[in-house]
Every structure is written in structure tokens, then in C-alpha cells.
Amino acid sequence: MLEILQNNWLLFLVGQYPHGPIGGLVMTLFMASISLALCFPFAIGLALARLSPYRWLRLPATAIVHTVRGLPLVMFIFWAYFVSPLIIGRAVGGVETLVIALVVYEAAYLSEIIRAGIEGLPRGQTEAATSLGLRYWPTTIKVVLPQALHNMLPSMVSQFVSTIKETSLGYVISAHELTFAAAQVNNVLLTQPFEVYGILALTYFALCFALTSLARLIERRISAGRGGTPGITIAA
């Protein structure tokens, strides 16, 4: 296995670059990061919509979130695959398609985390703000959101880990990420699939386990900072 890694580490890391588009682990991390970053505003919007007292906001948002939860990611990827070119007006590459699918998918899941974070705050926070004279929007932006987001930091790191794992589905549409790179290596070597995919599994494991451990560390720090008030344990 070590030999395969030695001979192919560059492929795993950056795909076919410089003889082709960037891929591999670098692309995996890039896609995960950018998807999560881009979906953030949508996630916050969905969360606030679901919490708002206005039905015309709440019901569609709830419908969207439930629908996303009800479909496999693969379906989103395929939908993105043939709808994106029609909307954008040109051919869309594998990486772009995957990012679009992930932004939609992650927005729904992230919105649930943010919603839980906001609901988890003691009611006293909003009451204190309103009694100081702040109205709904300033209260939300300045008092509620920062605290909710801080509390939900471990969950968001967990969500980042999930997104990294989800990028592996790029394989299905030939997006140049880590799993696709491994498949390419396997197609060349042919006789050592266990070793190749073993390296793939170990790479993801190392990356995701490190991040998950980070999430748990952050969670412990937050609990300690709150003086032992039991919070919602998300990064289990």
C-alpha cells in the first residue's frame, strides 16, 4: 500500500493537475469549503423564515427543508446536472454542478442546525433586548444570531465534515475530487483495488476524524465556558 501511495500521492492530492483540471484532496476541500460558505446566507434565511411568525414565510421554508430531507443527495446532483446548464445558459462542469447541488442540500441541513441554535438560547436574551427597546431585526442580528452561531460552532464543524464526505458523490458525475482520483488510480493499476480504496478510506478517515475531534474539543470548551449549563450535544 505504501508503494502505491508513494507513486501516486500527487494524483490523490491534486488530481491530474498540471496535466488537467485540479482535483484530488485539494479539490475536495475546496468544494466543501465553498459550498458551506455559499449556502450560509440561504441557511440563515431558511432558519429565520421557519422561526418567523408569518405563515407565508414559515410554510414554504418548512416545505423546502422537509423536501430536501426527503431526497437522496444523488438525486440533487442529477437535478443540478441537467437543470444548471438550462438556467445558466452554458455547459456546466462536474465540480460546478456538485457545488450547486451541495449548496442547496447543505442550506437545508445547516438551517436546521441554526434554528436549533436560536431556539436553544434562553428566552431571556430576546426579552432583555426588547426591554432595552430593540425591535425584532436589530435584536435578531445583534443579540440572537451571534450567540446562536457561537453555540452551534461544533455542529457546524460537524456539518463541514459531512460536506467533505458528500463531495465523494462527485464520482457519479465525474467531478474531479478525491474519490474520482482514486478510481482513476485503480483503473490504471487494476490488480490492487483493496489497497487503492484502502488509501482512499484512510485519507478521508484521517481528515474527518481530525475535524470531528476538533468539534468535540470546541464543544467541551463551550460547555466549560458556560459553567456547566447543559447544552445540546451535537458533536457526539
Binding site: 443527495l73 438525486m75 464526505k165 458528500e166 490492487q192
Partner: protein, 232 residues
């Protein structure tokens, strides 16, 4: 664009059959993997209870592996990797007996088992120690206290998360298409490639997934309220 949405052509004749086979395969894959997941999850929970630290480490490693490696990669490892380690007769047997379905089911089931084990463990942990003490105080041994007092309560709490795991398992069957299992997503692509009615084909698949998913979600929330013990 001049595109006519033509659902009928996609749901007729052999294409309808393909969809139905796809749905049946998806459900079959879900069922087999689910049984494996529950069985393995219970085994892992029991093993964890044995006061022998190396066993605890093993279970922890099992859980961490299945939670940190993408499911698609796990499927590849089982489908491409494992047979290459087996002797030739075993490989031939696998190939002759729906190998891809079996190996996908194994991969999906063992992965879900990690989460099942964690859900059961959380359920058990959420039962206050005082319940166990009260059972022991009446005179029950460890097994009696666990079996009559702690576990009945823990399993009640675990049912909604376990139903959620079932939902995830159902959705994850779609990954099996990557190794050629003829489940719903795979069949949908087949219909698409024959009829070129991409929208219609995927609309049908989307509808099917949503109906079943919402059904499972409804079961989850119903069980959540039904199993909740009333308090004043």
C-alpha cells in the same frame, strides 16, 4: 423552448416495469440492510457493555471508521476491494449471486449499525442512574435491572432516532447505483437514456422518494408522541 412535459410516455410499458423493479430493489436493499444494521447495532451495544477495555476500543473504532469514511467509499471498498482478497471460488460465487446487491447491502447495513449502536447507547445513557439504583434496591441483579427497568425505557427513547436512521438508510440505497445495483436511481437513468425524457423520469423518481420518505418521517413523529410517557 417548446418542451412538452410528457409523463405518460415515461410511465408506460417496459419503462414502467423498470421503475417498478427499481422501487422493489430499493425497498429490498433497504430491508436487508436494515435487518443487518439492527442486528449488528445490538451486538455492538452488548459488546460495549462487557467490562473489557479492548472490546470498548474495538467498538469505538468501528463507530469512528463508519462515521468518518464516506459511505460511497465504504461501498467501493466492499465491492471492489474485498472480493480481491477472497479466494477465487468465493469470488465466483459472489458474482453468480447478485454480488453487487449483497455487497451493497453489507456496506449499507454495517455503516448504519454504527449509528444504531450510538442511538441505543444515548438512549441508555439518558435513563437516570437512580432508576437503575431503584431496581437494584428491590433486589434485581444487573441483568434484571437492565432488562426490566433500564432497557424498556431506553428503547422507547431510542425509537425516533432509530426511525430517522431508517430514513437515512433508505436514502443511502441510492448510492448503490454507483456499483450497478438496479435500484430506483439506476433505473431512472436507464429510462432517461432510452427515452430522453430526463425531466419526466427524474420527476417520477423524486416523487417516489418523497412519498416514502415523508411516510417514514410521519412514522417517526407519530411514534415520538405515542411513546412519550405523560407527565403532569
Amino acid at each position: 423552448m417548446g418542451y412538452v412535459f410528457d409523463l405518460g410516455s415515461v410511465l408506460s410499458g417496459k419503462y414502467l416495469d423498470w421503475f417498478l423493479i427499481g422501487i422493489a430493489t430499493t425497498l429490498a436493499l433497504t430491508a436487508v440492510a436494515w435487518c443487518l444494521a439492527m442486528a449488528m447495532g445490538i451486538v455492538l451495544t452488548l459488546v460495549r457493555m462487557i467490562p473489557f477495555p479492548p472490546l470498548g476500543w474495538f467498538v469505538a473504532l468501528y463507530v469512528e471508521y463508519h462515521r468518518n469514511v464516506p459511505l460511497l467509499v465504504q461501498i467501493f471498498l466492499w465491492y471492489f476491494g474485498v472480493p480481491s482478497l477472497l479466494p477465487r471460488p468465493a469470488r465466483q460465487w459472489i458474482n453468480a449471486h447478485h454480488g453487487e446487491f449483497l455487497l451493497a447491502a453489507i456496506a449499507l447495513g454495517l455503516a448504519a449499525a454504527a449509528y444504531v449502536a450510538e442511538d441505543i447507547r444515548s438512549g441508555i445513557r439518558s435513563i437516570p442512574k437512580a432508576q437503575y439504583e431503584a431496581a437494584r434496591s428491590i433486589g434485581f441483579g444487573y441483568l434484571g435491572a437492565m432488562g426490566y427497568v433500564v432497557l424498556p425505557q431506553a428503547l422507547r427513547i431510542s425509537v425516533p432516532p432509530l426511525i430517522n436512521q431508517t430514513l437515512l438508510l433508505f436514502k443511502n440505497t441510492s448510492l448503490a447505483m454507483a456499483i450497478g445495483v438496479g435500484e430506483l436511481t439506476y433505473r431512472t437513468r436507464e429510462v432517461d437514456s432510452y427515452t430522453f425524457k430526463t425531466f419526466e423520469a427524474f420527476a417520477v423518481a423524486t416523487a417516489v422518494y418523497l412519498v416514502i420518505s415523508f411516510g417514514i418521517m410521519a412514522l417517526g413523529s407519530w411514534s415520538g408522541t405515542r411513546l412519550k410517557l405523560e407527565t403532569r
